[in-house]
């Protein structure tokens, strides 16, 4: 193909967020034992119930084994070689405002396109910025407080809202849920906490931006979002990491709770460092995300665009307990070079007339291996439950793989389920059509891929939809040639 040289150049453009910020940091020495867990808890000045909770998780984690069922092949992780806490050094007790935040950090986030200065921020988005193990800044706290919305770092929530935390923590993703969730429960260092009170529609989009900076650390953040009766919130999550030759572990837990008539929309654009073109380095993104629709007419919607990470292992799920509750999952997952993704969702229907929709688009290129794994389970109590699933895969190149492993378990005869999937490469007819109208091969591929993913992108908030499209274009450039 004549465009080959141009395509090569585009491919080698690489990962734009792979820089390292030279900043002093406080870290715990590598190693993991009960003292590490106690130390994290002590540094965070946590109440006793939380220390005990962490220790229970740690003791259980020691009895567990890494899951092996997923279609991914990670290098062994040496859990004793990781540092479980790393935080940028701060000159005072803690940043009281943005003025106290190290300018280098602000500069880092500006470089990433996440300006923390409120005057420069995107209209209507409040940001919680998490740098390695700690939250460095949360914007628009005051405006949100006026509306009654609590949006703060997890550490702040521990100090200011312990009762709420004790009530909800671990109720959606129990400590012993799986190997990585259990590890997170023991050593999580920070994250975001959101509480939307009864009847409140959150006045702006909430957003968390996760950044791994320090070497030889893992990131273990925890997010808890509670939408009380009749409330509504839209939450965005973004993430990046420096380019390093070793694999770094990111094992997060996200718990969502939607009470009666509440709605939570959770969007992720995941752009962790995916490793180089030979599969060296990159983040292991082993994440547990689950939402519980506890109340009637509640709704939880997951939208994810997964372009980064060397290995992705995540299944954002919905437990539909409330009558008429709705779960949605929209996903675009890309595996290029040597990336591996095993991702999908679980929809557990418990309440009557519960509905769920799954739309998953997988794109495999280079030597990438992309797996959709999804469970739809309709329990005997879920009368009239409905599910629709569509998962399509696009293959670009002869060395990649696209796999679809749906699990359908129906225990109620009034339920209706429809599942459809297809796997194919980009149609030569479509490419030819575009090229003979003067569109370059690269643009044609982008157009076709964007069309392929359109049903997911339209679910993203506007700022993220634009970012996601660009990200996909950059990640895919040169994949066809």
């Amino acid at each position: 193909m004549s465009d080959n040289a141009q395509l090569e150049a585009l491919v080698s453009r690489g990962y734009a967020h792979g820089f390292v910020t030279e900043i002093e940091s406080d870290s715990l020495p590598p190693g993991l034992d009960e003292d590490t867990v106690r130390n994290i808890s002590r540094i965070k000045n946590e109440p006793q119930f939380l220390t005990d909770w962490r220790l229970r998780a740690f003791r259980h984690w020691q009895t567990m084994r890494e899951p092996e069922w997923a279609h991914v092949r990670p290098h062994p992780v040496d859990y004793q070689a990781l540092s479980y806490y790393s935080a940028p050094k701060i000159k005072t007790d803690g940043p009281k405002s943005l003025a106290d935040v190290d300018p280098k950090l602000l500069e880092t986030y500006a470089k990433l396109g996440v300006p923390l200065h409120e005057r420069a921020r995107l209209a209507g988005v409040a940001v919680d910025a998490v740098f390695d193990s700690v939250s460095v800044a949360t914007t628009f706290k005051d405006r949100l407080e006026k509306a009654g919305v609590i949006f703060c770092s997890f550490s702040d929530a521990v100090q200011k809202h312990p009762a709420l935390l004790e009530k909800y923590l671990g109720t959606v993703v129990p400590q012993a849920d799986n190997f990585y969730a259990c590890l997170n429960s023991a050593v999580f260092s920070d994250g975001s906490f959101v509480y939307i009170p009864k009847g409140v529609r959150c006045p702006m989009e909430l957003s968390t931006y996760f950044r791994i900076n320090a070497a030889n650390t893992g990131q273990f953040e925890r997010t808890l979002i509670i939408a009380d009766e009749g409330s509504h919130v839209s939450y965005l999550e973004g993430c990046t990491a420096p380019m390093r030759d070793e694999n770094q572990l990111h094992a997060a837990v996200v718990e969502l709770v939607a009470e009666n008539d509440a709605q939570i929309k959770y969007s992720t654009v995941q752009n962790w460092y995916p490793g180089d073109e030979n599969g060296i380095g990159g983040i292991y993104n082993f994440v547990t995300k689950r939402g519980e629709c506890r109340g009637r007419n509640s709704r939880i919607s997951w939208t994810q665009v997964e372009t980064g990470s060397a290995i992705t292992w995540k299944y954002p799920s919905c437990v539909l307990k409330g009558e008429n509750s709705v779960g949605e999952f929209y996903s675009v997952a890309l595996a290029n070079n040597y990336q591996q993704a095993d991702t999908g969702t679980k929809m557990i229907h418990i309440g009557p007339n519960t509905r769920s929709t799954i739309v998953s688009k997988g794109i495999s290129a280079g030597h990438g291996q992309n797996t959709y794994r999804g469970l739809v389970k309709i329990l005997p109590t879920a009368h009239g439950a409905r599910n629709f699933t569509q998962c399509d895969s696009l293959l670009m190149g002869t060395q990649c793989g696209a796999h679809t492993f749906p699990y359908v378990e129906i225990k109620n005869s009034t339920a209706t389920l429809e599942h459809e999937a297809s796997t194919s490469r980009i149609s030569e007819d479509q490419l030819f059509y575009c090229i003979q109208r003067g569109i370059s091969a690269e643009d044609a591929v982008n157009m076709i891929v964007n069309g392929f993913c359109k049903s997911v992108f339209k679910e993203l908030p506007m700022e993220f939809a634009v970012e996601a499209q660009n990200l996909l274009a950059v990640s895919l450039e040169g994949a066809v040639g």
Binding site: S393, M396, V408, A415, T416, L417, E420, T423
Partner: protein, 398 residues
């Protein structure tokens, strides 16, 4: 002798990915002794329950896995019985099963150890044959073993039926079939399993397709308290084709489970897979269809269509249509639906004066009609329709 003593390899459990939905309770304490050779009394008892003979088919009867010369037609050239004890040591067990590669081969391995005879079918080049194999289980364990090989251009029409001698006696059937379809050869294989509701039934069918080989398989399972079919098929030759159709009908507390793994290892392989399941009462239906297209199989196509109907309040359907694709030159699709009878269709029939029971039966017939229609011999098709009529009381079977 218990299972632990017969084989160092372990019995599958519901924790094994491919055995999640099978009913395996009680097997860990079951005594998997070799079957007892049938006596003349047993043979006469079996003679009285044999179904009417279909004229165009050569009949072969296996009682508890043993060939019954008395009840079978004279064997033509190419069909033979091999008694394991007279075989040289290296032929006594079939190679793939000496050491099971995974728990999926466990029952085949067990069959290999305990089957006293292997029924061999060797169809030479360009020959054509029609054959009916009746496997009758009388009591205890039964290990039918079939080795079928079609050489270049041969054609075999095979009807395989699994029955019990009585309506109540508990039996455990462990069938193992090795089928090799040579270049340009064609097999039209219909399998009917309607054992009694006390029986347990396991089968393992290993198929290899050579260049341009064609395999059409229709399976109708309506019997046994618990049944499990394992099909392991490899498209080894280029441009080979498989059409796989199955109907699984379960009522009462029956559990019918099937695992079908199809590997496309050569260019141009084509698979069309169709599964229809109806579960009523408290019955459970499981289907796990795993299609793999390797990097060596460009130009492959793989289609799965899976539909389940739940007509019982406590009925259950567990399906897993899986695609594992390692090349981009492929067209793979799957569709799965699970639901109840369509109310609009039912209303349409009721509004035309058709009684509800009949209307429901008609709709159920229509649901599995795609599968039954693929049975190529009209007489066999009619016979199967008639035998299934008990499952759909009130419906028209003709």
């Amino acid at each position: 002798m218990t299972i632990a003593q017969t084989n160092a390899h372990r019995l599958p459990t519901n924790r094994d990915e491919h055995w999640k939905y099978a009913k395996l309770r009680g097997l860990d304490t079951h005594n998997f002794l070799a079957a007892i050779e049938p006596t003349t009394t047993t043979t006469s008892a079996v003679a009285s329950v044999l179904p009417a003979k279909i004229p165009e088919l050569t009949r072969v009867v296996l009682i508890d896995g043993y060939f019954s010369q008395h009840l079978s037609d004279p064997l033509p050239q190419g069909l033979s019985i091999k008694v394991k004890n007279t075989l040289p040591d290296n032929k006594k067990t079939r190679s793939a099963r000496v050491v099971p590669q995974s728990v999926d081969y466990y029952f085949a391995s067990l069959n290999s150890q305990h089957a006293a005879q292997v029924f061999e079918v060797r169809l030479s080049t360009q020959t054509r044959y029609t054959l009916e194999i009746l496997c009758i289980a009388t009591s205890g364990n039964s290990y039918p073993a079939l080795d079928i090989e079609l050489y270049e251009g041969a054609t075999l029409i095979l009807i395989e039926e699994h029955l019990n001698a009585t309506l109540e006696t508990f039996t455990l059937t462990n069938l193992s079939v090795m089928l090799t379809v040579g270049a340009d050869a064609k097999i039209d294989y219909t399998r009917v399993q309607k054992q009694n509701f006390s029986a347990q039934y396991f089968d393992t069918l290993e198929i290899t397709l050579a260049d341009r080989a064609h395999c059409q398989l229709v399976s109708v399972a309506s019997g046994a308290a618990a049944s499990r079919s394992t099909v392991l098929l490899n498209h080894q030759g280029t441009n080979s084709a498989l059409q796989w159709q199955a109907a699984s009908l379960a009522q009462g507390a029956q559990v019918n489970d099937a695992y079908v793994r199809i590997t496309h290892s050569a260019p141009g392989a084509r698979t069309k897979q169709m599964f229809r399941g109806i579960a009523s009462g408290r019955a459970k239906i499981g289907f796990n269809g795993h299609m793999q297209v390797t990097a060596d199989a460009p130009g492959s196509s793989a289609d799965q269509s899976i539909k389940c109907l739940l007509t019982g309040v406590e009925a259950e359907a567990n399906v897993r249509p899986q695609l594992e694709i390692y090349t981009d030159d492929v067209r793979a699709t799957h569709g799965a639906t699970v639901g109840k009878l369509d109310n609009n269709m039912l209303f349409y029939m009721l509004s035309r004066g058709i009684p509800e029971v009949t209307a429901q039966a008609l709709l159920k017939w229509a649901f599995i009609a795609d599968v039954i229609a693929k049975i190529s011999l009209p007489l066999v098709r009619e016979k199967i329709q008639q035998s299934l009529s008990a499952q759909f009381p009130g419906g028209a079977q003709e």
